[in-house]
Symmetry: C2
Subunit: 272 residues, 2 copies
């Protein structure tokens, strides 16, 4: 019997506590924390940044006494970290699901890792369709979770060093996921992992940037989607070409060229 081992006992106790909390409210956070986080998300969404919030204002919005804030957080930064943890949960896994969903709906079954040798052209075409579907779903998701996206992007280069650092790590995590998914779903031919990782970083960055525009400028959404699709396509073609797969997909490239020929010539509509 190991149940007398002190560390194990401690672990069991913690597990039990977490389990109870999970059952009680189906979320780990206590009521006050929830209220304060929601208040912060609401207040920052439009024209505020986190450290422009006063904790009195926060408490007011949450319907709590100002001092209650201290029961949950030492300062605003700590609140910020809790919010980021919440956001990560709201975004990270859904993003992966969304990619798988897109991949499966396009390719029927997933792309096979030998497909790139047998028919690189078709593989690339399918892969780009998956990309398009993913882009669409991502922007939808971003618009649905506007408050979280706004806060995240806003604080990415915001005033608090610790939040900046945390967000950098989150973004790195997103990029890791993307790289892993590209590999697992065979969205690109075999390419060194480091390269995949860096390409994914650039693409995530651009996607989050564009999603801010997507949220803020509803009448530009179609154009933003097109931009994102084209950006990713360009980067992926650049990457594959750089790694020697260029000559193999000649026909597919022509198809892309034709597809964008019309929009490429359009005059810039400088609206708003």
């Amino acid at each position: 019997m190991l149940t007398n081992h002190p560390t194990l006992l401690a672990f069991l106790q913690i597990s039990k506590k977490v389990a109870t909390m999970d059952l009680s409210k189906k979320q780990i956070l206590s009521k006050g924390k929830r209220l304060l986080i929601n208040a912060a998300l609401k207040l920052t969404a439009d024209t505020r940044n986190l450290n422009g919030l006063s904790l009195r204002e926060l408490a007011r919005e949450a319907g709590l006494n100002p001092n209650t804030f201290y029961r949950h957080f030492k300062n605003i930064d700590e609140l910020g970290l809790a919010i980021l943890a919440e956001i990560a949960g709201r975004i990270r896994q859904p993003l992966r699901d969304l990619r798988r969903q897109a991949a499966e709906s396009i390719t029927g079954k997933l792309l096979n890792d030998t497909d790139w040798e047998r028919d690189p052209e078709l593989s690339f075409r399918k892969s780009m369709e998956v990309t398009k579907a993913t882009v669409g779903l991502f922007f939808d998701y971003a618009a649905d979770n506007a408050d979280a996206i706004i806060l995240g992007v806003r604080e990415q280069h915001g005033a608090s060093p610790i939040l900046r650092k945390t967000i950098r790590e989150m973004m790195q995590g997103f990029a890791n996921d993307m790289a892993e998914d590209i590999q697992q779903l065979n969205l690109l031919p075999p390419i060194p992992n480091r390269v995949l990782q860096e390409v994914s970083e650039s693409i995530s960055r651009e996607m989050f940037q564009l999603s801010m525009d997507y949220i803020e400028r509803p009448n530009q959404r179609q154009d933003i989607i097109r931009k994102a699709e084209k950006f990713i396509t360009t980067v992926m073609i650049g990457t594959t070409t750089l790694h020697g797969y260029g000559p193999l997909m000649g026909q597919a490239l022509q198809a892309f060229q034709q597809e964008w020929a019309s929009t490429d010539q359009e005059p810039e509509l400088s609206s708003l």
Copy 2:
């Protein structure tokens, strides 16, 4: 004689006034404005954002009476706009100069627009060297003007809608410049203007994002430079390939592949 024309007279008077102001201080801004702008740049540089500043704090830093603020600005947003105008001047033209400087130092004389037909491979290689030089100079410039860059990037998705809008327009301006320079310096083969514009937008966005890392993480600078170079190369190869120039530069691509083969395999060093 036209000198009696009222509008012209008015114009001459304004010209005279501007000229005098220019002479008196070699800058258009009055002393108080200067002090307040500098104070704001100093205070926001590290761990603040613009609308987290109080105007009393600003005045204190500037060595002025709190009320003096109102002699120059209606509110913090107006101060912000003045700062952005200042930043634009500090960045826009220098950026163009820097690109020309890089281009001329690499190519001796500028690339000719027929070079891409005659020897696309050499043209691309030269073009990429110009890119590298530009990236290096840009990051240096960013580090030297850290306060301006930080404020700009921070407020790009910051709390104030009007500043956001202004910065969006500034970024668009930078992208326009870049597209124009790519064309004038023949850094890419003939490509539709719209495409050039959009590629430039993506590259500027990424460059400013990376420049924040460059500023904040001095010990990662070499790696960040490499990432930027590689990103731009990838995008440019993607763009040219998409527009049918791929087959023409086969050899050059292999050169790039080899150049990055070593770094591509390196393990991720997850420092700090």
